[in-house]
Amino acid sequence: MNTREDRESAPGVPSPAEGGVDAAERADGSDGSGGTDGLARRLGELARSLHDESDLDTRLVDVVQTALQLIPEASDASISLVKGRRRVEPRAASGALPGVIDDIQSEIGQGPCLDAAFRQRLVRVADMGRDSRWPIFARRAWDAGARSMLCFQLFVEGDTMGALNLYAGVAGAFGQEAEQTGALVATHAAIALSDAKEVRGLNDALVNRDLIGQAKGILMERYKISSHQAFVLLSSASSSTNTRLTDVAASFVHTGDLATKRPPRG
């Protein structure tokens, strides 16, 4: 990967300090501690609101808005969900740009989000016009108006991942402080989102258990078989039709028929 230093020292690339952040806040430059009071307060507020809010989309909007407030260099922000290692879906986008960028990445299967997805915790694009890692993406993203980007990995679970993306309309917009603040927001968001996913996953699991339990009960009663035999029936129906066990059980409880063969193909 090209180094950020190369780009930022290149002539003609605006210095990150031209962003618009209070100079005092980045005076010591090392850890951004000059502005930590405000930062800590905002992150605390974010954590509380993520904790209190049960709706996932509202939480994602909170994360994106907090990132925009704390990182004034960013003109747009969004969260991308990457599914099946290729499809990139924008969530809670602050404007139209993130959707356009995600569509480009979905279409050509390359880009910073996809790299943040499965390889790196942080992907920087200091200057979209001079990026050689994803040439096709970079050209189209530049044309769409994304001149620099930061992508933070939020979570990876199976073949689904989430990333927090920051966009700026000028090259070299994001300095070290923006990266550090972004990483803090991403960490807070990742924790809040994993809580939400766990709770939702368990709710789903309980509903499914109940449904499959009913299906097993009906089969046991109907055929006078054991719980294990009932499970094997459902399981083989699921395998032979390539349908999830939950869906097999739901359709069986609903219709009383156990689909055991895939319908013949024409």
């Binding site: 789903d204 699991a205 499959i212 719980s227 294990h228």
Partner: protein, 101 residues
């Protein structure tokens, strides 16, 4: 029900499948629990190491959970051929009936 393969063989191959597919214990347990598995995650882990025998029914529920997760993994990209001819097309083209389509 009678077993077609020994319990230990089922356990070993299930553990191998989980490892080969790169599934996490957490994701396996969640699916297993969702399809009426009753053992907790520690018991599943111990079972896979051969240290905790599950009943045949629980072992089959675990097997099914693992296979569903494997089925849901994105397929690897495949290489395209130069044409889209099927066996039936070829049979028709060469005028032979000796090959089942």
């Amino acid at each position: 029900m009678t077993r077609d393969i020994p319990a230990d063989e089922q356990r070993r191959l299930t553990a191998h499948a989980i490892k080969a597919a790169g599934l996490t214990l957490q994701s396996v347990w969640e699916r297993y629990f969702g399809i009426t598995g009753n053992a907790d995650m520690t018991e599943i882990e111990a079972h896979l190491y051969g240290a905790f025998p599950l009943s045949d029914e629980e072992a089959d529920i675990l097997t099914h959970a693992v296979n569903e997760l494997i089925n849901e993994m994105p397929a690897l990209p495949r290489a395209p051929y130069s044409t889209h001819l099927t066996t039936a097309d070829v049979v028709r083209e060469i005028g032979s009936t000796g090959i089942d389509s």
